[in-house]
Symmetry: D2
Subunit: 326 residues, 4 copies
């Protein structure tokens, strides 16, 4: 039984650097939660600090979620949407900002406890650099390790999942790829620190998503969370899942079963010009459709195909599955 | 009725710079032609100069093709596999080499006449440059225009189709993208000069293949020929069609119908480690499967979806087509 | 004598989709113009519609520019920063929006006349598509050609320069690459329609910038304008010129001389986290430094190196130029 | 004092999949060694199994090297140039091939001992996969770990350095990026296993090379070896160092000093159409020129610039260094 969720803000307005006021209008939180609950299969939401949830409204949000039967799957602390984080949060050259970044993390963990949310998804997007000779690569990585370790020790009942992304908003992120970030997670020495794969970030990193998922699982069960979206491999386009890639997602779902991943399958998109609910619903339905392809017979056949490694056979298998044997 | 063909050499041995003796063994020409004819749907082959066909064996090849009911769809003059072309053929800084490149083109045209083949596919792969300050961009382009114009005038009964590719074996090719090459074709002023899309080259160029096909068709019916293969968008991996991309090929086939393309659908792969015949058969079968999706009802629905431009609806349409409406 | 200019807004606040309120504070227009004029070598500015200039403030802007001895080099009509353009301007599926896009262009042309500005730089950023089956490639391109033709005829005293960009804010832009856009410019049949190269857009398109400049110049003197910035080839990072690429810019400046380009060298950056004036000044100084490398002796040597095409010699030449012969 | 070396085969003939007989002629080994020794600064060579060195000629090679005062810096076992390795060496699905891959490694280690060569550079290029559903990601990685561990234990006096590369000849390599490969090296538990950075591979992987070098050094001193070449970030073009990138190499050399790297700086190129010796000499001279920029004053200034992180200042610093302060 797959647990699908969405990031709540995906139902709201979206902007970019050219149209900063946004492509759409912003619905109320109550409306967004209602829309989320109405997507068949969706049983949880992720909340972003500042944007969706703050200490001031956390109880209200808890009430709204409960009313619609939704779990809070994760909280993403806001380390990116305020001017003070512009040159880094955990890695800011200013110790006061670094302290605030840690406090923001703790505040998110407190809200998580209040909402019975098991996981903090850390995406400190401003961590990194834009130019050569701008980052002290040793110090910056260590500072993120130090902050995460401290938070993980302070909140041992909460999972901290590090979301990597090769770039944007910085031209180079500190947590850029699966293996880099796994090294950071392991270095904390804390069992409650793992890694989030955002499928779009993984594609931009040049990774095969399924291989990244296996890597994180096989080196110590560190795959904690998943964000789903699609793109053209060059940028984090945050599109409807399955609108570009198909067989890669099938391979990912196959391997998630093989490694026993039991976390949430969370949608994370930026439907700039699309109806948000429709875009998210399509993504969930695509993944559900893929799951129907992966019955026990198919799982067994795929294991055999992988063992053999013959691309003529595996492409024929996929084609037959999709179009029927002829 | 779609006409499928293959490049004959795809059934032979394949090598790369690390394993120059090749991954497989080389079958005889007769055997390759027999294998080609045995792929359901395939009714033509393309022949590469030096590798497949020379003035010395052209009659023999014609006999073999006739025996197996195959047409010669195109001839690709060898402007790339000999040391003399290493620094350019039409754009060589040596006038003797430029003259030889033209002669090679004429020899191919003569063979085409002998085989009743309607088209010369020009892929002068060594044209271009590797380093900055290495090419005279004006002169090099003009030299290719001059040579093609001369050949097109000399053989007005033959179509000359220019195959573009952004890179490899040079880091930058002279005919790199669809529009660049269309400019060259138009500049010749000859109606029998057009452009070949190799789907993999188009992906590496960052193009949407369907859009490139429309561009070449809409600016004066210059889409003359098509090579099919698949890749991961970063390099000309020459893989089985449909092994990576799916919906993009559907869109391409849709638009080929819309613009009235009536040329061949030719497979062009490098099955380094795969059974060649199986790899090509899979590609043809994938394209045939896509064609079955494009019945009149689907064509009409797609025209409506494009007119509306709503990605939620079009992705839902695609999913329903593949998995059935639920 | 090179004419350097900047895009005025580069001195203002900058935002992205994660930090939509911006990384900095917004100075007044008077302050930005003062800063622009204070950059040694800068003698002109480009103004963006809505952001910098409107019919209501055009006289005031003219006065400010005159006061600081700056020319208005180009006006960029706002076809991107308002919600109404979100799904396209010239290519909107709504005829009312298309009409407004044309009116916006005319309004910019009127302002240009008022400011004695010779050029409208058209970057209709929302033109294009995000998903397959979303654009009618024939219709969309034709609609841009139609609108540009009409404007060029209505304002024959104004140059209309089409700025291409492969993507962003759409995943695929209608005017994506140099040659595609040259085809559009030529199709208008108007001599006052040309193409703008943004060096960063060209890099993202996988082009060699110098080659693109030569192409646009050699096929009918259609290179009308230049925007300078730098990036890592994967995205329009809009960085300080020379912070990533070096020898490519030298090659570009060399060829701009060879083809007799006599337009402006305009800086177009997004210094998100940097002092805007400092970032622009650095870019101009880098280009000025390169110009000092290109004295008559060097131009002659480079012509010789290109004629010879030996990368060992050209890389040695470059190294000797930079580090001194040893 | 920097120790420069070259890969001997770089002085020989080079081929690709289109011109498999090669672009040049093959000199004798004696001639190549003579040429290597004649490049100022070069004091060592790397030898490739099969191509350069075999148990049959190892003594002869040792004699030639000694005669010219060259050290054998590393041996690269041949795991890629024979048909038997075509579908993988350590990860072959055939246990006999896996055994042979291990034997080849041991044979290289024996030759290393005979030549007093301290390091085996493992680049098992055929390890990986081309298609989805072709690799058992768990098993394949484990098999490489197992083989390397066994070899490292058997030859504790030899360093084993794992060279990563994202792709080619496979579309996806098993050791693809710095951090992935560091995980493999650490997993062996052997102190004599580390990682080789090939600068071109790192660029293709989307890494900042300097950051990768710091990562490998900071997580346990695992940076064992360096291969230098340049490319356009999309493919392993194996070009002259400095022909594309400049400031990135300066940053790399800076950080190599900071982390105390004391291994060889080895050139690894494919000068398809260039004079091999000239291409290698240019690379060494470029790196030597960069070293002269990094005097103690510059090192100190750069540390300050990194601590401050202001791109306006660092780009100005670089420009002043190159062009002189004005």
């Amino acid at each position: 039984m797959i647990n699908y969720s969405i990031i709540l803000g995906n139902l709201g307005n979206t902007c970019d650097r050219f149209l900063s006021s946004g492509y759409k209008t912003q619905p109320s939180k109550a409306e967004m939660i209602r829309q989320a609950a109405a997507i068949p299969g969706v049983r949880g939401v992720e909340l972003v600090g500042s944007w969706d949830v703050t200490p001031a409204n956390v109880d209200e949000m808890g009430g709204l979620l409960a009313k619609h039967g939704l779990s809070c799957v994760s909280i993403i602390p806001d380390h990116f949407s305020q001017q003070r984080w512009g040159k880094g949060a955990f890695t800011s050259k200013d110790p006061a900002i670094r302290a605030q970044a840690y406090e923001e993390t703790c505040a998110a963990a407190e809200m998580a406890r209040a909402l019975k949310c098991p996981l903090i998804n850390l995406w400190p997007g401003q961590e990194g650099y834009d130019y050569v000779f701008q980052s002290d690569y040793i110090l910056d990585r260590r500072r993120t390790i130090e902050a995460v370790t401290k938070a993980a020790k302070a909140y041992p009942d909460i999972k901290f999942s590090l979301e990597y992304k090769p770039k944007e908003p910085r031209t180079h992120s500190t947590w850029a790829r699966a293996a880099d970030t796994l090294l950071v997670a392991r270095e904390t020495g804390q069992p409650n620190v793992g890694v989030t794969i955002d499928t779009g970030h993984s594609l931009v990193a040049g990774e095969n998503i399924a291989e990244a998922a296996v890597l994180l699982s096989d080196f110590g069960k560190r795959l904690f969370h998943l964000h789903f979206n699609d793109n053209y491999r060059g940028w984090d386009d945050d599109m409807i899942v399955g609108s570009v890639h198909f067989v890669e997602f099938l391979e990912l779902l196959f391997w998630l079963r093989e490694v026993g991943y039991d976390g949430w399958y969370s949608m994370d998109q930026y439907p700039y010009r699309e109806d948000g609910q429709g875009a998210l619903r399509n993504s969930v339905e695509f993944l559900q459709s893929l799951e129907t392809m992966l019955d026990e017979g198919a799982m067994k056949e795929l294991r055999g195909l992988i063992a053999e490694g013959d691309a003529v056979k595996s492409t024929a298998w996929f084609r037959a599955k999709v179009f029927g044997r002829r």
